[in-house]
Symmetry: C2
Subunit: 257 residues, 2 copies
DNA sequence: CTCCAATTTCGTACGCTGTACGAAGATGAC
DNA sequence: GTCATCTTCGTACAGCGTACGAAATTGGAG
C-alpha cells in the first residue's frame, strides 16, 4: 500500500555526515554531550585494524580505548557492520588522489597501483564487504577519480566502469595473496621456504600415486626464482601489463587513428 | 638444534587420505568403530554451506545432522578450519574437468568459466581462505589441468602460473560481485533497483554538495542497461575478453610466426 | 529556578561460537 | 580376562554482538 519508499539505509547519513552537517535542520541536542566523536571512534577502529587485524576490532576493545562502556558505542554507531563501512570510507579518504598522467597506460597503472598500495597498508579492507557497495563520500570521490583515469580512451560508459572494476579487482587479488602469505608466516612461524622444506617428505609421500608433470615443472621454476611458490609483486607487474594490453588493444581496434 | 623439520602440517595426510590409505602401515584400530566417515562429515558440511552459507557450518549443526555429540566431530577432523579446507578440496573433486579445446582462446575461457561456475554453485568457497594454499589432491588435479590449458602458448613457466592466477582471480571477483548482489537482495528484501529508488532522495540530498559528473553519467548508463548498478555477467565477458587479448598479444609478440 | 523530555551512558544478560578437558564406554590384541 | 587404545560426548569457558532498561546528564519551556 505504501508507495513511500521503505526507510532508507540509515548509515547513508552517517557516511556523509561531514558534507551534510551545517546544512539542513541541525536538531536540538539535549542530554549529555558525547565524550568523543564518531570520527575518533572510527579512527580508533582503523588503528586497531591496522595494528592487529579486523578480528581485533571488537566493540569492547574500541570502547576500552576511550574508557567508555561497551554499549556506549552504540550511541555513535548503529552496529559493528556499520562501523566497518565507516572505517572503509574514512580510510579511503586518507589517500590523496594524485593527478592523472597523460599517458593512458600510466593512468591505468596508477589506478591499480594506488588500490594495491592502499590494500597493502590496510589489508583488513579486503575482509570488509558490505551488502551494498559502500557509497560513502570518499568512496565516491575515488570512483570519480578512477573513471577520470579511463575517460577519453574510447571506451563506452559501461566499459569504463567494467575496466575500473577489473583493475581494482586485480589489485585486490594481489593484495590478498600478499596478506595470505604474511599471515601464513605469522601463524606457522616459518617462512614459505621453510614450510615447503618441513612438509617436503610428507608431500612426496602422499603425492606418490599422482602425476603432476606441469605443476612440478612450474613449481620448481617458481621455487628457484623466488624461493617461494608465488611472488605477488611479480604477479602484479605481469598481470597488470596483460590487462592493460588487452584494454588498450580493445580501444585501439575500435578507433585506429 | 633439531635439523629434523618441524612436525608437518597435520591436515595434509587428511587431505590425501583416499590416495594413501591401503598403502603404508594401516595401523591397528582398537576402540569403537567410527559411526560415520570423514567423507560423510565433509559432504554434510558442504551441503550445509551450499544451502545456508558458510556461517551455518557450525560444529554443532553438523553433529546434529548425524545425531552425534558436538565434540565427537573432533575425532574426525582436528578443527573447524581444517574442515573448511577439506570441504574446499572435496567440492573441487565434484567438478569433472572437461577436455581442453585446441583453440587457445577457448582454453583460457574454459579455465575462467569453470572456476566461475563452480564459485557460483558454491559461493562459500570465496570465504574459505587458509593460511597456505590448499594443496589437496583435487586442488592439485585442478591446478595441473589449468596449467595444461596455458601450456604450449609460448609462456614461460612462471608466466603460466601467473596467467592461471589472473584468470581464476578474475573469475573469483565476478563471483564475489554476484554473491554480494544476491546477499543484498536477501538481507534487505529489495532488489537493487528498489534499493536505489528507496534511497534516491537521501542520496541526492547528501551528495548535493559534491560533483560526480562521470559517476553520474556512467551510473545512469548502467542503470538504463541493466536496471542495476552493475551486471556481473557482462563484466565477466568484457573483462575476460580483455585479459585473454592481453595474454595472447603477449605470446604473439614474442613468437610472431 | 523548576521541571520535564530528550539523550547519553553503561551494567547485565542472552544466545551464539569453537574447543579444552576429562570421564565413560566400546573394542581388539594379548 | 585384562588392558591399552580409541570413540563418544557432557560440561565448561572465554569470547563475540547486542537487546534491554535503569541511571545520569543536559537544554529548553514555563
Amino acid at each position: 500500500m505504501s508507495d513511500v519508499p521503505d526507510q532508507p539505509d540509515p548509515s547513508l547519513r552517517l557516511l556523509w555526515r561531514h558534507r551534510t552537517d551545517g546544512r539542513e535542520e541541525t536538531k536540538v541536542k539535549r542530554g549529555p554531550k558525547q565524550k568523543v566523536s564518531v570520527d575518533e571512534v572510527v579512527d580508533a577502529a582503523i588503528d586497531l585494524a591496522d595494528a592487529e587485524g579486523l578480528a581485533a576490532v571488537t566493540m569492547r576493545a574500541i570502547a576500552q580505548r576511550f574508557g567508555l562502556g561497551t554499549m556506549t558505542l552504540y550511541s555513535y554507531v548503529p552496529s559493528r557492520d556499520a562501523l566497518l563501512v565507516l572505517m572503509a570510507d574514512q580510510v579511503t579518504g586518507r589517500t590523496t588522489l594524485p593527478d592523472l598522467p597523460d599517458d593512458p597506460r600510466k593512468r591505468l597503472e596508477l589506478v591499480a597501483n594506488l588500490a594495491h598500495d592502499e590494500l597493502r597498508a590496510h589489508p583488513w579492507l579486503l575482509e570488509v564487504q558490505d551488502v551494498r557497495p559502500w557509497l560513502g563520500p570518499n568512496m565516491s570521490d575515488r570512483y570519480e577519480w578512477q573513471l577520470r583515469a579511463v575517460d577519453g580512451l574510447g571506451l563506452t560508459d559501461l566499459e569504463m566502469d567494467q575496466t575500473v572494476a577489473v583493475l581494482i579487482g586485480f589489485a585486490g587479488n594481489i593484495a590478498r595473496s600478499e596478506l595470505m602469505k604474511r599471515r601464513a608466516e605469522q601463524v606457522t612461524g616459518m617462512t614459505e621456504a621453510e614450510w615447503w622444506e618441513a612438509n617436503y617428505d610428507t608431500l612426496e609421500e602422499v603425492m606418490a600415486g599422482s602425476h603432476y608433470p606441469l605443476a612440478n615443472r612450474v613449481g620448481t621454476a617458481a621455487g628457484e626464482a623466488y624461493q617461494a611458490a608465488t611472488d605477488p609483486a611479480r604477479e602484479l607487474d605481469y598481470g597488470l601489463a596483460r590487462i592493460i594490453d588487452g584494454v588498450l588493444a580493445h580501444v585501439g581496434k575500435r578507433s585506429p587513428d
